[in-house]
């Protein structure tokens, strides 16, 4: 194995950074200072979604909607139709599920310039349990015609993608998480909506990660080096539209794709990637995600381990995929 490739994977130190929700809150504050058309709505969770930074500095442009997500989403659509750039935010479980009909009828259908940010996504919210967990949100958001769906992996990508979402004219859903996550990117990394980032090259298989599973994908690829396996890692920060070229290239060049996501396998990223693979270059696939169940209370670490969302389980899936290739 070329030494160059090893260093590509081992260069990631994955030092713990801030949570993506924290990065969102700070990015929103910066954007608020730059653009007076940016307005924000929240549903009684400002200290959790981190819209609190914006709300404190720009009280006139912040609308506390109370615990009424359906109303909040539609108010956001009205603000957007009137020329504002509204961000509506809550726990992902609430804004996506309780606001879904309003996302459909008042945002997606008339294609207004609404930005929706769901925090505390996946099961890594931890102790609060399944009523607060959002494991259906990517599937639901992707089902809305015209929506851009973003799932940043770390603070650097969140900050850049919140900015990209603001510059994009049309509805966007951004998925954020509760726990602190490792930093993957250098501060000057450039991000483009719809363009995946190859974090490490490889030829034996490709791991496609999103959200907090991206750093686990890197760890899995690092661990597999000891077995002389040369595994590509791709960060798919944009779930919709998918980077079809990056997926087709990975399928053609590595012959095996493992998708890792903190989401139900049903309706998740893996299924969407599989569609592209089937349409472009059919290859072996494995899926690391939540299998047809709701989780429970527990520490984020314990839950991610119990429900199979770790680098160890990703590495297992890579080995399975490679053995199926032979």
């Amino acid at each position: 194995m070329p030494a160059q490739t090893q260093s590509e994977r081992s260069k990631y130190e994955l030092k713990l950074g801030v949570a993506t929700r924290e990065a969102f809150g700070k990015a929103l504050l910066e954007l608020g200072r730059e653009n007076k058309n940016v307005v924000v709505c929240d549903a009684d969770l400002t200290k959790s979604t981190m819209t609190t930074y914006f709300a404190k500095e720009f009280p006139d442009r912040f609308f506390e909607c109370g615990i009424a997500e359906a109303n909040m989403v539609a108010i956001g659509s009205g603000l957007a139709a009137a020329g504002k750039i509204p961000f509506v935010s809550s726990f992902s479980a609430f804004v996506i599920n309780k606001g879904f009909e309003q996302l459909r009828a008042t945002a997606a259908y008339p294609h207004v310039n609404l930005k929706v940010v769901g925090t505390h996504s996946g099961i890594s919210i931890g102790e609060d349990g399944p009523s607060q967990m959002s494991i259906e949100d990517l599937g639901l958001a992707c089902s809305l015609p015209g929506f851009i769906v973003l799932s940043p992996a770390d603070e650097v990508s969140m900050r850049a993608l919140v900015r990209a979402a603001t510059d994009h004219n049309g509805p966007v859903f951004i998925r954020a998480g509760r726990p602190k996550v490792p930093i993957i990117y250098q501060a000057d990394q450039k991000f483009t909506i719809g363009k995946a980032i190859e974090l490490a090259p490889g030829t034996d298989a490709s791991i496609i990660g999103t959200g907090l599973m991206t750093s686990e994908a890197i760890r899995a690829a690092q661990a597999l080096e000891a077995e002389n396996l040369n595994v590509r890692v791709i960060d798919l920060h944009t779930i919709k539209p998918l980077d079809r070229d990056a997926i087709a290239k990975a399928a053609a060049e590595t012959g095996a794709i493992i998708v890792a996501e903190e989401h139900l396998v049903d309706g998740g990223l893996g299924v969407r990637v599989a569609q592209v693979v089937a349409e472009t270059h059919p290859c072996i696939m494995e899926f690391v995600g939540i299998e047809n169940t709701y989780a429970e209370s527990g520490s984020p670490e314990a839950l991610l381990e119990k429900y199979g969302l770790t680098s160890i389980r990703i590495a297992d899936a890579v080995r399975r995929a490679i053995s199926r290739k032979r």
């Binding site: 609308f63 359906a70 989403v73 539609a74 108010i75 009137a82 509204p86 008339p110 294609h111």
Partner: protein, 273 residues
């Protein structure tokens, strides 16, 4: 577009509107005549007297906004918009056909001058609040008028919005309930009664006016009263008759969502005059 305070002129426009509603729904062979006819005076008074708007410049930032939250009543909206000059009158008969700008429910993709796509009930008041918040933030004089159906007020989101607007002292929004007492499955009181309806809005903090929704002078006065109220939104509960103006449609739940036949159309047009 000619605006007028003259009641007789407005009544004449209302007659034309009723004729067009009947003609277009008959041509389409489907649609919602009852709730279109009940809202005629409300929309005619808004578009031809009350609202500040410019059909030659539909996106004029200072315009007043109108949202027909009860989107199934769109024939009345299409008729007044066409008469005002936003859209062609001679295309009204294409209602509900493939490719027609006059879609089965209002659709901003087909008529950009519409303020909102509606049809999924219960959502227009919230969207209107968003527009009114934007206007206030920008210091624009725009006012927002949202027309609700009565059955629509069974939706929980209406009451989320009803809680929001008074708390935020939004005196630049007016909601008008077309209280015709009938919904698809029958009489509202037999399905899920709204009463005490005015008391509900009052208790949520709205300035409430209960009026005859077919009296143009009363509507004119009510909109003037609403404009004069400071610090709270106004809800006009417009008592109306479903199917108003066509005797066999009046108060008949059947005509919530059934198109007239050719013979019924001719009878109806004779009655409307």
């Amino acid at each position: 577009m000619k605006k007028t305070h003259n009641v007789e002129e407005l009544q004449a426009i209302a007659r034309t509107t009723r004729r067009q509603i009947i003609e277009m729904i008959t041509a389409a062979k489907s649609g919602h005549p009852g709730g279109s006819l009940s809202a005629v005076e409300i929309l005619v008074t808004l578009f031809f007297d009350v609202m500040n708007h410019d059909p030659s410049n539909p996106k004029w930032p200072d315009r007043d906004h109108v949202i027909l939250s009860k989107g199934h009543g769109c024939p009345v909206l299409y008729s007044v918009m066409a008469q005002a000059g936003y859209t062609p009158v001679d295309q009204l008969h294409t209602l509900r056909r493939l490719g027609s700008m006059y879609q089965g429910h209002p659709d901003v993709r087909f008529i950009p001058a519409l303020e909102a796509s509606t049809g999924s009930l219960g959502e227009g008041l919230s969207v209107g609040i968003g527009m009114a918040l934007a206007a206030r933030l920008d210091g624009r004089p725009s006012r927002t008028f949202v027309i609700l159906g009565d059955g629509e007020c069974q939706e929980g989101q209406i009451w989320e919005a009803a809680m929001f607007a008074p708390y935020h002292k939004m005196d630049n929004i007016v909601c008008i309930v077309d209280y015709n007492k009938i919904q698809l499955d029958g009489f509202v009181k037999d399905i899920l009664d709204l009463e005490p309806f005015a008391a509900k809005w009052e208790s949520f903090g709205w300035n409430v006016l209960e009026i005859d929704g077919h009296s143009i002078p009363t509507l004119q006065k009510s909109f003037a009263d609403a404009a004069a109220v400071e610090g709270k939104p106004t809800c006009i509960i417009a008592n109306t008759v479903k199917g108003k103006g066509v005797s066999f449609m009046e108060n008949n739940p059947k005509y919530h969502g059934v198109a007239p036949s050719q013979q019924e159309m001719e009878l109806a047009l004779q009655e409307i005059g």
